[in-house]
């Protein structure tokens, strides 16, 4: 909450500065009352009300540590308190009153972060009444916000926590549309409201999509786009409009005058052009990703990550040069034409080329095993002669997605001062035989395999067959 307020203040300060710059360097207009800055609309009208739950100072020792930044400590220790990582090292002393956990034979890692999830907007049960992921009524729906679809009672959140060690995730609109709408980043902590799950201070994302989905959905309705060139044509027309909108609103917020007409969709695109909102772009094929990168240059924005990116391995050098990440599955392939060239070594080839890579799920079941998906990618890489150390591969599960979400200063590694989003695994997390034993979010123990009371049960499952069962 405090952090969000801080951001708002910063935004106000920026407006004031730009006014000064305008009056100083560019004295075309006389300083009259009309040059009073226009009133900016709220960038955060549905603010996070997340709060961390209480925890006790905890020292896990004698444990294998993957710090999430590529480092590994055997027989190491991790200490966290007051919701934050305090220290990691070989041996640490337990402060008075700390809970001490023996990690013999176990591994400790940062919590898993899934950059591509539809939990809440395509929840379980997957019935039409809860199918809220695609506003598939027009190819450009930058006006919709995923958080307004998220059902916080989705049982999938609990599974992702208990079986997958997932502590934060980005919920995206679906890929039917070229501009699917805004994403939202959540802490994986059940709450009564979506706002209370929102990751404090996380920037927004814009979901975009290329390829087969938009052209199929709208082509079948007999309207543009029905081809890949149609996809890009509509994209470009939309960005051109957004540039105009941004100019008008920038001017108004700087100089005042008549307030331009408000367009909720354009607010989001203006945010992208201003670098405040990150582009998360569903795209499979190498050639299409290259086109999108040029389109981003044409209109002056940056693609943060290509999602699915089944052919990213073919243009790993290009992605690196553009500082654009690839968020991929380990091995999904062959379910439609644009996934025909999927290979298991995708992640390893990206890493080898020095590109920013990460695992993602896009799946309520797959999100429960992202550690195993990375193990598959490591194995496929090793078959190709690319030997990536396990501890380095953990970046694909936490720090790289945190960076692509703009939350890496807060979470994604076990660096002192960061949120204590931590998983204790009952063995090597890259083994099929391993599961989370304990999961902490902001230092609060929210899952414990040995304590049935530390296992979340969503409202939907409460009182139904299997309620509170191991899942």
């Amino acid at each position: 909450m405090g952090h969000v307020r801080g951001l708002r203040l910063l935004a106000g300060a920026a407006v004031a500065l730009s006014l000064v710059a305008c009056g100083g360097a560019n004295g075309e207009r006389p300083k009259t009352a009309s040059s009073t800055p226009g009133k900016a609309y709220s960038r955060d009208p549905y603010p996070s009300t997340y709060h961390r739950y209480p925890g006790v100072p905890t020292l896990v020792r004698n444990v294998t540590v993957f710090d999430g930044e590529g480092g590994r400590i055997d027989n190491g220790s991790v200490l966290f308190a007051d919701g934050k990582i305090v220290a990691i090292g070989q041996t640490l002393d337990a402060p008075a009153g700390a809970s001490v956990v023996d990690g013999q034979g176990k591994w400790i890692t940062p919590g898993v972060i899934d950059i591509h999830s539809h939990l809440g907007d395509y929840p379980s049960p997957g019935i039409r009444a809860l199918s809220d992921g695609n506003e598939a009524t027009a190819p450009v729906t930058a006006d919709v916000w995923a958080e307004h679809s998220v059902w916080p009672q989705d049982p999938g959140f609990g599974r992702a926590l208990a079986n997958g060690g997932v502590t934060a995730l980005q919920i995206l609109p679906g890929s039917a549309n070229l501009f699917g709408g805004r994403s939202v980043v959540l802490k994986n902590v059940y709450a009564r409201t979506t706002q209370a799950m929102k990751f404090p201070g996380a920037p927004y994302g814009l979901k975009m999509a290329c390829g087969e989905n938009p052209k199929r959905v709208y082509g079948s309705k007999g309207r543009e786009p029905s081809t890949r060139m149609g996809n890009i044509a509509v994209d470009r027309a939309t960005w051109a409009k957004a540039q105009t909108y941004k100019r008008k609103w920038d001017k108004y917020e700087r100089d005042g005058g008549d307030q331009p007409e408000r367009d909720i969709a354009m607010d989001t695109l203006r945010g992208v052009l201003a670098g405040e909102i990150r582009v998360q772009n569903h795209c499979y094929r190498a050639d299409e990703m290259a086109t999108v990168l040029d389109m981003a240059k044409e209109f002056g924005y940056h693609v943060t990550a290509f999602h699915h990116a089944v052919e990213a391995y073919k243009i790993a050098d290009l992605l690196k040069a553009n500082d654009t990440c690839a968020a991929v599955w380990a091995d999904w392939y062959g379910f439609k034409m644009e996934s025909y060239d999927g290979i298991g070594a995708n992640l390893a080839l990206l890493e080898k080329a020095g590109a920013c890579a990460m695992i993602h799920s896009d799946d309520a079941n797959g999100i429960q095993r992202l550690n195993q998906e990375v193990a598959k990618a490591l194995s496929a890489g090793r078959r190709a002669g690319i030997d990536i150390p396990d501890a380095v591969a953990w970046k694909w599960l936490s720090l790289n997605p945190a960076r692509a979400l703009g939350i890496d200063n807060q979470t994604g590694s076990l660096k002192p001062g960061k949120m204590a989003d931590v998983v204790l695994w009952n063995g090597n997390p890259f083994s099929v035989y391993t599961r989370p034993e304990k999961v902490w979010v902001d230092g609060a123990l929210l899952y414990d395999a040995n304590d049935p009371k530390r296992r979340p049960v969503s409202d939907f499952e409460l009182g139904q067959p299997g309620s509170g069962d191991v899942k």
């Binding site: 379980s124 019935i127 391995y313 999904w332 298991g344 797959g366 193990a375 099929v432 067959p465």
Partner: protein, 432 residues
């Protein structure tokens, strides 16, 4: 490392395949019949069949001996139910033979005529250790999807091991939709179709199956008679506990039905009844979400609890977006949950059986495939480690005793792009 593997694979292919006796020695051998793996054991096969496997087995004189110390041997994986061989990619409608909504036929549909052994997925999945698949159609215009086939994934032109191996029917929510909107409609359709099949048997000449509006055609009737007579198993997809009870009750009216359940997400809630009915189940291992109102009680402990109650279980490959070979990951996860308090999984031997002999037994084929017991077809995988562990991979594969190539389109793509940038010529010129 890769070069060495390629060379050895090439050498294997060059060796005379049949008539040659092969002995794999020193390996950890997992039979796939539910037993624990055997250390330092030998496997012998000849003429496409397993001769012997165990720790006291000697390599016969003249056998090609493969020293496999430090490696593991298992039967090839049996993946069911799947559309493998029926499509190039599910979403490519033009080549997808998985279902036929516009067809007047349903139960008569026989997928064996559609299997394409050169589809790229066959080689990709074979390289992941899958040697047999239970190929099922999807429903089109009826609750009856048609007749499935058992195929091998061998690098040859003859993929169909058994055509018309089972009939597949939907009797849960999916079936309700197929039948026009409700479960009772699905049951009405089911019973009426079977009744009409019997009418056809009594008097084929007067059977009206050639009429445009006939519920079933003559060839549908012929396919359904084999189900009624128990000549082919009836695979029923249901998930809800109450649906499972209803399906088990069908044998009161059709006593010869050879039922097989698939899906069965809530099977654990009726596990004793399933076991008592001796109905095998091929279930999703890791379906633990209430994905629909018929799977509210879904849990990863489902398979383990059914097995503990005495149900014959196998794992389903359904929904494996990364490919059917991921059933071994599913099996490994069922071992993993044995360490979670309150969960029920499978021990290692049962877990391997759930992806080898289990699915084979569900269709009555465990005498032929799914294990390394003597007499079985020699579908053999040599692994560089524990076959259920993610990092392990096959290093040699035999199907019906024939060594298989260790390449696929995926390895071709990988090798072309080991370095993404072009060299002296475009990537299109870069191939083995």
């Amino acid at each position: 490392m890769i070069r060495a593997l390629l060379l050895s694979a090439a050498a294997l292919i060059a060796a005379p395949a049949l008539a040659q006796t092969v002995a794999i020695t020193g390996a950890t051998v997992a039979l796939g019949d539910g037993s624990a793996p055997i250390q330092n054991a030998t496997l012998v096969f000849r003429d496409g069949r397993i001769i012997a496997a165990g720790s006291g087995v000697a390599a016969p004189a003249g056998a090609e001996v493969i020293d496999a110390h430090g490696k593991w041997v298992s039967p090839g994986l049996v993946a069911g139910f799947t559309g493998l061989g029926l499509h190039d990619a599910n979403g490519i409608e033009e080549s997808n033979d998985g279902s036929a909504k516009g067809s007047p036929f349903a139960a008569a549909i026989d997928v064996s005529t559609a299997i394409n052994p050169t589809g790229v997925k066959i080689a990709n999945e074979r390289l992941g250790g899958v040697t047999r698949a239970l190929v099922a159609p999807d429903t089109g215009n009826s609750i009856f999807a048609g007749q499935g086939a058992v195929i091998d994934l061998g690098d040859d032109a003859d993929p169909v091991m058994r055509a018309r191996a089972f009939q597949y029917v939907e009797l849960g929510e999916h079936g309700a939709r197929d039948a026009g909107g409700s479960r009772p409609a699905a049951y009405a359709l089911f019973r009426d179709a079977l009744t009409q099949a019997q009418d056809y048997r009594r008097n084929p000449a007067t059977f009206g199956g050639r009429d445009r509006g006939a519920l079933i055609k003559r060839s549908d009737a012929e396919a359904l008679l084999k189900v009624i007579d128990g000549q082919v198993p009836l695979v029923v997809h249901v998930d809800r506990a109450s649906d499972i009870r209803n399906v088990l009750g069908l044998t009161r009216d059709y006593p010869k039905l050879r039922l097989v359940l698939t899906g069965a997400s809530e099977g654990w809630r009726v596990a004793r009844e399933i076991a008592a009915a001796k109905v095998p189940v091929i279930a999703a291992a890791l379906a633990d979400l209430p994905e629909s109102f018929e799977a509210v009680a879904a849990t990863e402990s489902n398979v383990g609890r059914m097995r503990a109650a005495g149900v014959q279980v196998g794992l389903s490959a359904d929904g494996a977006s990364g490919g059917e070979h991921n059933i071994r990951q599913y099996a490994g996860n069922l071992v993993a949950i044995t360490r979670i308090p309150g969960a029920t999984g499978l021990d290692w031997g049962q877990a391997l059986a759930s992806i080898t002999s289990g699915p084979a037994a569900a269709l009555g084929l465990d005498g032929e495939i799914g294990s390394l017991r003597p007499g079985r077809r020699a579908d053999v995988i040599l692994w560089d480690g524990d076959p259920l562990e993610i990092e392990s991979q096959p290093v040699a594969i035999w199907i019906d005793g024939k060594p298989q190539p260790m390449r696929s389109r995926q390895t071709e793509l990988r090798d072309r792009y080991l370095t993404p940038t072009e060299g002296a010529l475009p990537k299109a010129y870069d191939r083995r």
